[in-house]
Amino acid sequence: MKVELENLGFKYSDLVVFKEINLLLDEPNLTCIIGPNGSGKSTLMQCINKILIPIEGVVRLDDVDIKLIGFKNLAKCVGYVPNYASDTFAMTVMDTVLMGRYPHKSMNTTDKDIQFAVDNLKLLGIENLSMRKSDELSAGQYKKVMIARGLTQEPKILMLDEPTSNLDINHQIQVMKLLRKLTRDKEISILAVCHDLNIAARYADRIIMLANERIYASGTAKDIMTVKNIKTVYGVDCQIIEIEGRPYVIILAGLDKYDD
């Protein structure tokens, strides 16, 4: 499925978040969005599935303006896993993951729906948590539950806001490998916000760097992860080395005297 953003702009009251965003995602691959805090990464994602309404520009799915697509039909194509969510009244993990079937079903949950949810729990390695209530999970475990719910939605495009936050290093790698695998096996286009530059550089097929209300740079990890780009966008000195053909960023921020 093709996603096209044309001259997209968004602002909160008088604060411009981004403007003139033009972007085309037409292949099922893993695209990471990076950028400093407040650069509009999450806002951009939320404009793609009508959680937020942009003030200018158009978002098209397979050449159809999303304004013309109903909420349920849009949710069948585009899934969104927020960085943070909480249930006011805790539900079991299975019930939470089964919510992902909402756009596809009416009142009754079928065996097929349940099996689909179970398969996704197994994919994330959390099937042993299925009957736990969500308030009995760690932040990292709940993150995986939200990803499982996103996958249960069966979207063609899956957007994840910081999918590796709250996860330990091992689970970060597992999740990023899984996302890459999904783009290959199920032909899902995945758009993920990432704060860890090295995770993005290692697993992303494409990286979009947001800064100063615009797309500052877009391309492969090698194109984006340069000393100049990182200095300009984050204001941090760094050194780039190459590991297994991918750039690896070493931050050169010095320690203050009293830290020694």
Binding site: I51, G70, D87, A90, T92, M99, M131, D135
Partner: protein
């Protein structure tokens, strides 16, 4: 998993699987059925209690006999049951179902454990409407139905205001509740002023109306309430999946395909009509709408597909039990049920909270 109070639907070592999940669902369904059976038993006891006692067996044999051989009421038991006790009992059940279903939906939709059908100012609107009719005679029609109609119309004013504001300002659930509370204070002030200026006769009638009572129960009133509650409950049950999604927050709900702003308005309207339909006839019956969903949630969890019918059953049982207490503690007279629901509901709720080893929600 840690819920060990009375009935545990969770498997300690639950693993993912279709069969396991279906068993978990069956246990919820069994709880709902069992709670309705309990309600039927409690109802039999409730109908037998009063200045003229009737045994549990006689109550149901009389009802069954009449249903199988419809005809004029000949015995004293039949007259007491069909003309007095049954309409009162069914009114109690209808009120319990209506307020509890509305409360369960309201709490999840508004993401607020303290929300209940009256949070939006419905009760204050109804009070003002009734007081206007009783003290000043301001009503579209005369008599008891004039009071009811006034209460119904005024009780829908706050929610109309909230809906308009949410359309204009895109209000969050918290803002909606705050608007409801503001309107509640304004309406309460107006009611108090009217009562201060009222003569002693009308003041007594107005005050009596504000305390919920089942003394005005009749087949005619019941039929109107029943239809309103039935339709409202079916609508809310139909929206239960959307309410579940909204329990996870607006962003999650939108990403799942819920048109949150439209859905919130539709649910709010359904809740308000149910609550208004009930309080217009009975007056303010507090605590049932707040406490019943929490009690049901302790037993069967937070999935609104099962929580809504379970809350209905718990709420109806609470009302029937409260009515039994109301008829017995100061016999031969009867306490207004609003006082009893608040006393029993509050005490029972406090007991449940203190028994729990962790937070309820």
């Amino acid at each position: 998993m840690k819920n060990k109070l009375f009935f545990n639907i969770y498997y300690k070592n639950g693993t993912a699987g279709v069969a396991n999940y279906k068993n978990y669902i069956y246990r919820k369904i069994i709880f709902v059925i069992a709670s309705f059976i309990f309600l039927i038993i409690l109802s039999g006891i409730g109908m037998g209690v009063g200045s003229y006692s009737i045994s549990f067996v006689d109550v149901y044999s009389e009802i069954l006999n009449r249903l199988l051989h419809w005809g004029p009421l000949t015995t004293t038991d039949a007259i007491v049951i069909w003309d007095l006790r049954l309409p009162r009992l069914l009114t109690a059940i209808t009120v319990g179902v209506g307020l509890s279903v509305a409360g369960a939906s309201m709490q999840s939709m508004m993401k607020n454990p303290l929300a209940d059908p009256f949070t939006t100012g419905i009760s204050s609107g109804a009070c003002l409407g009734a007081t206007l009719s009783i003290t000043l005679g301001l009503s579209l029609i005369e008599g008891f139905y004039g009071v009811v109609l006034n209460a119904f119309i005024l009780s829908l004013v706050p929610v109309t205001f909230i809906v308009l504001i949410s359309q204009y300002k895109k209000a969050s659930p918290a803002t909606m509740i705050l608007v409801g509370i503001s309107l509640m204070f304004i309406f309460d002030a107006m009611t108090t002023y009217l009562m201060l200026k009222a003569n002693p006769t009308t003041l007594g009638a107005a005050y009596e109306w504000t305390i919920g009572t089942l003394n005005r129960s009749s087949w005619g009133n019941l039929s109107v309430m029943f239809v309103v509650v039935l339709i409202g409950s079916i609508v809310l049950q139909y929206f239960s999946k959307s309410i579940n999604a909204m329990n996870s927050g607006d962003i999650v709900a939108k990403s799942l395909g819920v048109n949150v702003s439209l859905m919130r308005i539709l649910i709010l309207i359904a809740i308000s009509i149910v609550a208004a339909g009930v309080v217009s006839f009975t007056g303010i019956i507090s605590f049932v709408g707040l406490v019943s969903p929490h009690v049901a949630r302790i037993f069967i969890g937070s999935d609104n597909k099962y929580l809504i019918p379970a809350s209905a059953s718990v709420g109806a049982s609470l009302m029937v039990f409260a009515d039994i207490v109301a008829k017995t503690v100061v016999a031969p007279s009867t306490l207004p049920i609003g006082i009893v629901t608040a006393m029993i509901g509050g005490s029972f709720f406090l007991f449940l909270i203190l028994r729990q080893k962790k937070d309820l929600w």
